[in-house]
């Protein structure tokens, strides 16, 4: 089943065209790495695909739903998960409050036990009440991995997900992604420079092909 489809997408930042006529189709259980030099539009592409940014031209579909051009109800599916390169967290709130917010914002009910298990599986089991500000960069990234475990999204858009992770963290990330791809049939699109992630995806598109 096709989860994500882009047709002839053109992205601009200001007056500068980043990519032109970009087309892509991603089915459930499939993973794809988006590569390319810095500043070519990988993050802009991901932000557009999740409905935050706006393409200059082209069409984007999430499943049956047309995201761009805007339809009457163009808000993205609740089962889409976008993790930016910098973890989006309420820094003054606790680890568990952040996880709860993320889960509830994806239209799911908060289950404390499930939250504890997810945090335990990313190595943050003993840090439920710790303030997010006091976590290291790698631990913040691990917290975002816990989001994915609970939400089990149909489409996962990840921007440099291994940034700040140690070797063990990278292995954990790959293990989680493999589980999501295999068990939840999540479609996974990753913008990355990490060769390990590119190899894990099995397929990669280089945005240079669509640069003007």
């Amino acid at each position: 089943m096709t989860i994500l489809k882009c047709e002839e997408v053109e992205l601009k930042v200001g007056y500068k065209t980043l990519i032109r006529n970009f087309s892509l189709e991603l089915s459930s259980g499939e993973s794809l790495a988006v590569v390319g030099p810095n500043g070519l539009g990988k993050t802009t592409l991901l932000r557009t695909l999740c409905g935050v940014g706006k393409p200059y031209r082209g069409r984007v579909f999430l499943g049956e739903q047309m995201l761009w051009p805007q339809s009457d109800d163009n808000k993205p599916s609740a089962r889409l998960c976008y993790l930016a390169s910098q973890p989006a967290l309420f820094l003054d709130h606790s680890v568990s409050a952040n996880l709860e917010f993320y889960v509830r914002s994806h239209a799911m009910d908060w289950d404390v036990q499930l939250g504890k298990e997810a945090l335990g599986s990313v190595g943050l089991g003993g840090r439920l009440q710790q303030t997010a500000r006091t976590l290291s960069t790698g631990q913040k990234r691990r917290l975002t991995l816990a989001f994915m475990i609970i939400v089990k999204p149909e489409l996962l858009l990840l921007d440099e997900p291994t940034n700040g992770l140690d070797t063990e963290g990278v292995s954990l990330c790959l293990q989680l992604l493999s589980e999501l791809r295999r068990e939840s049939k999540s479609a996974i699109l990753i913008a990355t420079h990490d060769q390990q992630l590119i190899d894990w995806c099995g397929k990669a598109v280089d945005l240079k092909r669509w640069a003007p």
């Binding site: 409905g51 599916s77 609740a78 967290l89 917010f101 914002s105 239209a107």
Partner: protein, 235 residues
């Protein structure tokens, strides 16, 4: 029905986390209150001490101090979410943009009220408000504060959405906000003055016109906000 429940849940989530953020960062609330209280105490001295006794300035002073509180609150309404990346994350989820706006409006109304109630105490003490005035003002000042907050919060939240991801936010907010909010401020000041038996007013506009403005402004801007909620957060 199902989408209505989801909308309400999203709205409540935004409201709840905005309130929780105030609790975990109490300094921001306390700082605003301290700033407003200092203003309330210092403001009359700009007129000379003999004028403190005069009823004519006390209502204006109260609402002028409220304006400072409003300015500090509204200007950073989406700052936390925008700077932490939470806003971007929310826009990528199923959270309705109108629910996001409504949640923030609910928060502003409550947040402003939580500052105005202690400020009212400071005002009564430092502006020599007589007992008769407090009794006659009490039933009218609370609905008035609620409507003032709703009008101000609606305009403020709407503009804060538009400017949340703009680099010109600090310049745009006051330029757009104050002209739009002026009618709400005028309505609140006039009604408070009319309701005070200690103030002798010359013939003027009837109180009902100001109530209409206080009711109409939030209704108008709330409708605009809901109808344009998709465009409001768009880059």
């Amino acid at each position: 029905m199902k989408s209505g429940v989801a909308w309400s849940k999203s709205c409540w989530l935004i409201f709840e986390y905005s309130v929780r953020s105030v609790f975990v960062r109490k300094a921001s609330w306390a700082g605003t209150l301290a700033f407003a209280a200092c203003l309330a105490i210092l403001f009359p001295f700009s007129f000379g001490t003999e004028l403190i006794q005069k009823a004519e300035i006390r209502h204006g002073a109260f609402w002028a101090i409220n304006e400072f509180v409003v300015a500090l609150t509204v200007a950073r309404l989406f700052t936390l979410e925008a700077e932490s990346g939470i806003l971007e994350m929310l826009l990528s989820t199923g959270v309705s943009r109108s629910a996001l706006l409504a949640g923030k409006i609910m928060f502003v109304v409550l947040y402003l009220l939580s500052l105005q109630i202690p400020l009212l105490g400071v005002w009564i003490v430092f502006y020599n408000v007589p007992n008769a005035s407090i009794i006659s003002l009490a039933p009218i000042i609370l609905p008035m504060l609620l409507l003032f907050n709703l009008g101000t919060g609606t305009i403020g939240a709407l503009l804060a959405c538009v400017t949340a991801r703009s680099t010109g936010r600090d310049l745009l907010m006051p330029l757009l906000f104050y002209p739009l909010q002026l009618s709400v401020l005028l309505g609140a000041v006039s009604l408070a003055t009319y309701s005070d038996p200690g103030v002798v007013m010359l013939a003027g506009t009837q109180g009902s016109s100001w109530w209409t403005i206080l009711l109409g402004v939030p209704a108008l801007f709330l409708s605009v906000g809901v109808l344009l909620s998709h465009a409001l957060f768009q880059e």
